[in-house]
Amino acid sequence: MMVSAFDKPIADPKSQLHNAQHGANIAFTTSRRQSAYCKVSSNIKALVRLLGIFLMAEGVLMLLCLIPAIHFVDHSANGILVSGLFTLAVGLYMWISCSDFKVLSDRRLSFVFVVVLWLVLALFGSLPFLATGAVRTFTNAYFETLSGFTSSGATIFEEVQHLPSSILLWRSMSQWIGGFGIILLVLAIAPTLGINKFSLYTAETSIQDPSVSLVGTTGMTVRRMLVVYVLLSAIFVWLYSKTGLPLWDAVNLTFSNISSGGFSIYNDGIASLTAAQQYITALAMLLSGVNFTMLYLLISFRWNKIAGRYEQVRVYLLLFFIMAVLASVALHTRMGYGWSDSVRLSVVQSASVISTTGTMVADTSQWWMPVSFLFVILSLCGGMAGSTSGGIKVMRVMILVRNVRTILKNRLHPSAVNPVRLNGRPVAHPIINNVMVLFFVYALVIIIGVFCLILSGETGTEAIGAMVGCITGYGPGLGVSGGFGNYAAFADVSKWICIAAMLLGRLECITVLVLFYPPLWKLR
């Protein structure tokens, strides 16, 4: 494999990624300074080439949005065609012009890559919005696109029903791509880049069985995950169609809910759908918060492998259940809904919150404040590790809470050996501490973000709502940005803060923040 890396330029991303981890072993025969220079330029080329591949894929997907544009004849075809071809061309150029690289061997660049990937994809992804004239300013277009690619679901559109169909599909699709992207990152790319070794994905990959060992090489993992993702989406499109929803709506709803995104193609969230369709949506959202490896096992009927290994499923469902019960009681007693309505609304909304989807079944900004506050806390908790959902992740919260319990136990029985256990296996202190660091960094980022938002002119409640909404990928906040609301009224600075929050939240803060840690750039 390594010899082939030298012999011919590498064409597909998976073997490049595979080689990335072996890069450090390669010795250069030229002088040290020259070799360092070669290495850096080679690394940057590798990076650009990788980006090119992703951009080409994005361009192709953009062009797919031509189908509804032509079918519904809404004069958006030109804009989509231009932006799709432009993206494709840039991607192709990047790919071709950087073909003479060796391997991506710089770990710094692997961090840069992950961040730049999201930023660049969103940059080109905002072209359709601008080219079709759906959005006037770049800030808004970028906000909407990054919100899509981070599968947040925070929107700047006050009304979506008048938008061209191609734009609606592109919005839904960007989430679908973003959702798959994060699974790809966590389960396939991060392990090969060596990111999980240090930090953020540790919890996912080292405690439960890593998906990599489950299905073999990175390439196989990616392929199978893609199959599962597409299959799952197809199932939900079929389910929606069964309830009499047009194919167009079914596809869009599936895209935005299975990826825990939350963009809607209706002005009023999913409030106008039938009860059955809403429950299907709830199911899709719940599944989007489930660990992807587990979904894979579930779909491939290897249920015996799931048993006993996924304690977080239990907690995930328990949290969902508690939230649904509390919310329905609150809705019934406080808001005067009938039982069937309050149960339906709270089940769907709780699923939306815990999976950090952000699909709205009712105008939650009118709901009782404590319920909204619980939603905020629950969305911070988020879905399961290794899923498309955001937040701190159920597994980490479990580790944090169990750690406190263990400390109490140890105080009572000082000489007992009493480790924190997850899935029956002890979790070492360093891992718990890493989870703690993530939690504190997360909390700090939220607090700083809230203050920045207040400084740029939002009220306290809105700032908290928007910050938590964006960093967890839930999307809607509190107040004007909550419920059926949107972020259009936010100042431009606030929007950029939200954009930063979405990116930080999606990449679990540390991947982004480490780029601002000076010693990283003093390396070598």
Binding site: G194, F198, P370, A463
Partner: protein, 483 residues
């Protein structure tokens, strides 16, 4: 469980409380403010409870405490004493509802300083002094008081100590705990007395001097006027600033300085961090204020005073609300969580824990950059183990969880989310008065809060004061499970 010893300890504490009440009654009789009867009845009730506890304990008390008992003693002491302490407020007719009296008492003993009195200046002098005394007693730590009083406990005093100061390894002043506590108490008392004298010398009236001195050294924050300390002279404010700053310092450090034991003063990472945080915060606050109003003198004065008041979790205010710019609020919010040094009378997460946390996070990022290198987290030159760090983090996590949970309960009674979070944080950290728009202007009190919110805040105050774990332990199922 050693109930007898627990009862014995509690009765002792209550007797001390009754004695203090009687003292206030005598004061009331001297100045003739009409609160004699109230204090008398309150003291009588407390004495009766104390004596019945003593009877329940019986004669044959085994003076040994296990780790389990220590949680009980700590939690019970911090519940029973404040509950009894609410009697004078109620019986002298100053508080109109039990929940208000309880709130004031809890706020006092936990050195929080949130008050329900709109205008403390209208209170009888004896009640004012009682309020400040509750803080002063609470500032020393009820449990430490117990240890100091009960020298007969042969086993388990350090458990008690740990139960109250969970997880910050304190250096011992003296091999025996009661010896350490005695020395700390001496420092505490002499600092308080010194402040009373200085305030008197500066020409303040005796009641203000005593009450403010007690509030300052205990980092409580009850004030004697509805305008805070605004009416006092500049010299007084400077002195109080100095003493507030000092109250946030570990008592052991002060002891070593005062007794000229310089050799014990090496490697004061926490003290250094405390000073650095203080001055950085002052600098930031001055900048924030200068951006708002171009007035050097008041900006510097306000910042020095306000930051000292916040970082020691004292909670005094002396300046007009115009100084509460957004920047100041932000700094205040962060300082809230930093809190005082460990081993001081102040609340908050404590500088030492924040120090461990920040050093660990830096270490974490360094490990990302150099994955194969070994870096340690050190405080005071000692390598901290992962287990120790873990305890510190768990504490901070639980602290934040309590703040969030408390904020949720506050929203139940109609506060909006930012207000709830601020109130929960301010009371959890035992700061007390915080200006929140619409609810607590600088002169307003907690009186208007609904009952549920008051109880929530009381729980938070106690949890923050005894550093959560003792309280959490007695509510955990594992505690009650039979061996």
């Amino acid at each position: 469980m050693n109930y007898r010893c627990v009862f014995q300890l509690l009765s002792l504490l209550l007797i001390v409380e009754a004695v203090v009440m009687i003292g206030c009654g005598v004061l009331s009789w001297f100045v003739g403010d009409g609160a004699v009867a109230g204090f008398g009845i309150a003291a009588l009730v407390v004495l009766i409870v104390a004596l019945s506890l003593r009877m329940a304990a019986g004669r044959h008390v085994r003076y040994q405490l296990s780790e389990r008992d220590s949680f009980w003693v700590t939690s019970l002491a911090w519940i029973v004493v404040p509950v009894m302490g609410c009697l004078p407020f109620m019986l002298t007719g100053q508080a109109h509802r039990w929940v208000d009296a309880l709130f004031e008492s809890f706020s006092g003993f936990t050195t929080t300083g949130s008050t329900i009195f709109d205008d403390p200046a209208c209170l009888p002098i004896s009640v004012l002094v009682w309020r400040s005394l509750t803080q002063w007693v609470g500032g020393l730590g009820l449990v430490l008081l117990m240890v100091a009083l009960m020298r007969r406990i042969s086993h388990g005093t350090w458990y008690l100590y740990d139960a109250e100061f969970s997880g910050t390894q304190q250096r011992r002043l003296y091999p025996k705990l009661s010896g350490s506590v005695g020395r700390m108490a001496i420092v505490y008392v002499s600092v308080s007395l010194a402040l009373v004298f200085i305030l008197l010398l500066l020409g303040n009236n005796p009641i203000d001097s005593v009450c403010l001195a007690l509030s300052t050294t205990s980092t409580g924050g009850f004030m004697t006027s509805s305008v805070g300390l605004a009416g006092l002279g500049n010299a007084t404010l400077i002195v109080i600033t100095l003493f507030m700053f000092m109250s946030g310092v570990n008592l052991a450090v002060i002891y070593n300085v005062v007794t000229f034991k310089w050799r014990r003063l090496h490697r004061l990472d926490e003290f250094r961090a405390y000073v650095v945080v203080y001055f950085v915060a002052v600098a930031l606050s001055v900048i924030a204020l200068l951006l708002a109003h171009n007035d050097w003198r008041s900006a510097v004065g306000f910042s020095l005073f306000h930051i000292a008041s916040t970082i020691s979790t004292c909670g005094f205010y002396a300046y007009s609300p115009a100084h509460w710019t957004f920047g100041v609020s932000v700094i205040t919010f962060f300082l809230l969580f930093v809190g005082a040094s460990s081993g001081a009378t102040g609340g908050g997460v404590k500088v030492k824990r924040i120090l461990v946390l920040t050093r660990y996070i830096r270490n974490y990022f360094t490990r990302i950059v150099y994955p194969h290198a070994v870096f340690n987290v050190k405080v005071d030159g000692m390598v901290l183990t992962d287990e120790y760090n873990n305890k510190v983090f768990a504490f901070v996590f639980t602290y934040l969880a309590f703040v969030l949970g408390g904020a949720f309960l506050l929203t139940l009674s109609g506060c909006d989310i930012p207000t709830s979070v601020t109130l929960a944080a301010a009371n959890m950290c035992n700061l007390g008065p915080v200006p929140v728009d619409g609810l607590l202007g600088v002169s307003a009190s907690y009186l208007a809060l609904p009952t549920l919110s008051k109880y929530t805040l009381m729980v938070l105050m106690v949890a923050g004061r005894i550093e959560i774990f003792a309280l959490l332990a007695i509510f955990s199922p594992a505690y009650w499970r039979k061996k």
